[in-house]
């Protein structure tokens, strides 16, 4: 047993850390520290910086642009990326549809789509959830009827994250209404410019536009945009969702937030003394630090196990990572809100004339707290994770 990284791994970490330090644009770094949203242009610029370095799709097969790093290096890379902080890679292409295409797609699809994902030439979004299909995803109703060399798609998708920027959407659609619900689903790639697609923002409680509804009204999709076999889409979706849980713990990000929380608590006075010196606050901070340390170790156990024994079937411990990771992220937003106190109240801290820039740091605290209620809901809600543990681990 050994907790430490090898000298080679430490050198790798230093290299990655230095690259992020030198290449994340300072204005973007500041935005991320303050939990403000990065623009599409900033995301694209960052993806191209990574792609130029050869790090845009590190976990893909080497012949498709991957780095060939082992599980520990992949883990170090993402930890450092979050801890810098650097913009996260857009997951819909890199982590979701990309691996589905290179695992189940045909040669033409691989050749066309994969390089464009790596360079963020195409912005992808995810068309899975529907108004009536959340945790029970397989009940989805959006249908695709084969007519000659086209599919005609009708229905509605929802919770489409950053769909407003998207060039393409990958969708689960029902192609066989008569089959058992998991067996009549196909995986379809749809151009967002297609006639008959309407996108409508869903404003979240923080006032942000992160998610959307997407409507399909007799949308024509070339049959060649089907991935794999018709009616086998559920298998591809399960594969995709399994990948979604990698790095769901967000340990690096929470570490960065914790540093920021400590800093704000030492700069903010209560009763004439920094909140950081208040015994109650210190106890809460220590409590979340211990939770985060334990999570980091749990994540290292999962990574080391994967590195040593191969990926195999998804480690049920990844449900622990999701539950604790999301709880810790939420606790940190709560503590931030506590530190901000009454100054968290203004909805637009810049004032109506936009002059109050000194308040930037505090502007996103309440919205982030509100927004982060999502993290225990998305990616398989924490209740679904408990179902997974009770079935897959405990055999209940």
């Amino acid at each position: 047993m050994d907790l430490s990284l090898t000298p080679e791994e430490l050198a790798f970490r230093d290299e990655v850390r230095a690259f992020f330090r030198d290449n994340v644009p300072p204005s973007v770094k500041r935005k991320l520290e303050e939990n403000r949203h990065t623009t599409k242009e900033e995301m694209v610029e960052w993806s191209r910086i990574l792609n130029k370095k050869g790090w845009a799709v590190p976990h893909w097969p080497v012949e498709l642009g991957g780095t060939g790093w082992d599980a520990v290096r992949q883990y170090i890379f993402l930890e450092e990326l979050q801890a810098t902080p650097a913009p996260p890679m857009l997951p819909f292409g890199v982590n979701m549809v990309g691996p589905v295409i290179y695992t189940f797609g045909n040669e033409a699809q691989k050749k066309h789509y994969l390089p464009r994902i790596a360079n963020l030439d195409d912005w992808w979004c995810q068309g899975f959830s529907e108004p009536g299909s959340g945790s029970d995803l397989a009940s989805l109703k959006t249908k695709a009827e084969r007519k000659g060399d086209k599919y005609i798609v009708n229905g509605q998708k929802t919770w489409t994250t950053l769909g407003q920027h998207a060039d393409w959407i990958f969708c689960l659609v029902r192609t066989d209404p008569a089959a058992k619900k998991q067996e009549g689903i196909s995986f379809l790639l749809i151009d967002m410019k297609s006639k008959g697609i309407t996108i409508r923002p869903i404003v979240t409680i923080d006032g942000g536009r992160e998610v959307n509804e997407v409507f399909f009204d007799d949308v024509e999709v070339p049959a060649e945009n089907l991935v794999g076999q018709e009616n086998k889409g559920w298998d591809y979706a399960k594969f995709l969702l399994g990948n979604e849980r990698t790095n769901i713990a967000r340990v690096g990000m929470s570490k960065e937030r914790l540093r920021r929380l400590r800093q704000l608590a030492s700069e903010t006075l209560s009763g004439g003394r920094p909140i950081a010196e208040d015994a109650n606050f210190r106890a809460k901070l220590a409590a979340v630090e211990v939770e985060l340390k334990a999570l980091e170790l749990t994540q290292m156990r999962v990574v080391a196990n994967e590195g040593k024994h191969g990926k195999g079937k998804p480690d049920p411990a990844s449900s622990v990572l999701k539950i604790k990771g999301s709880e810790i992220q939420q606790t940190l937003t709560e503590l931030m809100l506590e530190v901000a106190g009454p100054f968290a109240t203004p909805y637009d801290v810049h004032g109506d004339d936009g002059s109050n820039e000194a308040m930037d740091w505090i502007a996103q605290i309440a919205p982030t707290y509100f927004n982060y209620r999502k993290v225990s809901i998305y990616g398989g809600s924490n209740e679904i994770q408990r179902n997974i543990i009770s079935k897959a681990v405990l055999g209940l």
Partner: protein, 380 residues
């Protein structure tokens, strides 16, 4: 990064499990608990035969030169079986003092008796007002000729009645909470002036309150520097806390296993109660708490190799915090999921709950260690 056991470690684990499987079921444990001293000499001799009592000692001292991971494996197994025998005070604590602070003569005088199972020890540290502070010592050791005279009272000394030798913390100079001036002394339990008042503990063991009245010991009784023994005490106590963390993980593993088996078989409304989602989610949360505890017990175990003393102490403190919280949740909920039978002496689960609860309050509770984490400047 590697969390796998070596081949030797895997074999060690199997051999302990094998031993406990044949000699430590719930009924057998009840009998051991009723024996003099609160544990079984026969089991202790078996532990000696298998070499478990010699694990951490250097080969030069007759031991196996094993490390913290091996102690963790032993303690986890002991937790799973609710073992009563005084491994912690004898091998981990007294053994730790001898290994880290003992002179060659002291090692030669005491380690062989630990390894062959003929001698057990107890750690007389807690005082009426010291609570969890190791630097809070009122018991005195005054110089007399070459030797020492010890006066004071110690409380809740685990294995205090049965031990052959007591490891006593005592002040050689300074005020009650000064960090300087604390020594560690080996005192025969049967020495003149030692009064032992024994009693059973909540978790089925036996402990004692011990009074020292003008107890005279020789110069060779002092382990390490009698004027500055606190760093040694802190180091050994951190190892003891780490061992308790491992024991607690074993207890939680078993408590969860027993509970899951119970809710799979107990039927109400015509179905196993484990088919109800409210109970499934509670059990899933117990699993989450147990895994987080396991991670931190591993951290504490591996921290014994950290170079930085501050980081080492903070890691152990953080581990004890997580263990305390996890123990409370897993212990309480395993009783809850058992229903009425969970609060009876006849069911095993309550005994797991009790041991977990007592561990939380041993050598620093959750609040205490949370403060230590803060004072160390955090753990992240």
């Amino acid at each position: 990064m590697d969390f796998d056991l070596s081949e030797e470690q895997r074999l060690l684990k199997e051999s302990i499990d094998g031993l406990l499987k044949t000699s430590y079921d719930f009924e057998q444990r009840k009998k051991y608990s009723a024996e003099k001293g609160g544990w079984s000499k026969a089991v202790w001799d078996k532990l000696a035969e298998q070499g478990l009592l010699g694990l951490p000692f250097a080969e030069a001292d007759g031991g196996f030169g094993a490390g913290a991971v091996e102690t963790m494996l032993v303690m986890q197994a002991f937790g799973r079986a609710l073992v009563l025998e005084p491994y912690l005070p004898t091998v981990v604590i007294a053994g730790g003092f001898l290994r880290h602070g003992g002179s060659d003569a002291q090692k030669a005088a005491h380690i062989p008796g630990i390894i062959d199972g003929s001698k057990t020890f107890a750690f007389a540290q807690l005082e009426k007002n010291s609570r969890y502070d190791l630097n809070d010592v009122s018991t005195t050791a005054k110089k007399k000729g070459d030797g020492w005279v010890i006066d004071g009272e110690k409380f809740v000394v685990l294995n205090g009645e049965a031990a052959d030798t007591l490891v006593v913390t005592a002040r050689t100079k300074g005020g009650q909470t000064d960090r300087d001036g604390i020594g560690v002394f080996l005192v025969p339990r049967e020495a003149q002036g030692v009064t032992v008042k024994g009693y059973p503990t909540q978790d089925g063991m036996r402990a004692a309150d011990i009074t020292f009245t003008g107890v005279e010991v020789g110069a060779d009784a002092a382990i390490g520097d009698p004027a500055n023994g606190l760093p040694l005490i802190e180091r050994v106590v951190d190892e003891a806390r780490t061992a308790l963390c491992a024991e607690a993980v074993g207890l939680m593993d078993e408590a969860l296993k027993i509970t899951v088996e119970y809710i799979k078989t107990r039927k109400q409304f015509g179905v196993p109660i484990g088919s109800f989602q409210a109970l499934q989610h509670r059990a899933a949360d117990m699993f989450v708490f147990t895994e987080q505890a396991r991670s931190m017990a591993l951290l504490a175990t591996m921290a014994s190799d950290f170079d930085d003393a501050r980081e080492r102490a903070a890691s152990v403190a953080a581990a004890k915090v997580q263990i305390g919280k996890s123990s409370k949740f897993v212990g309480q909920q395993s009783v809850q999921l058992h229903g009425g039978i969970g609060v009876t002496m006849e069911a095993a689960i309550g005994h797991y709950f009790k041991r977990l609860s007592i561990i939380e309050n041993t050598l620093g509770d959750t609040e205490y260690h949370q403060r230590r984490v803060s004072e160390a400047g955090g753990i992240i």
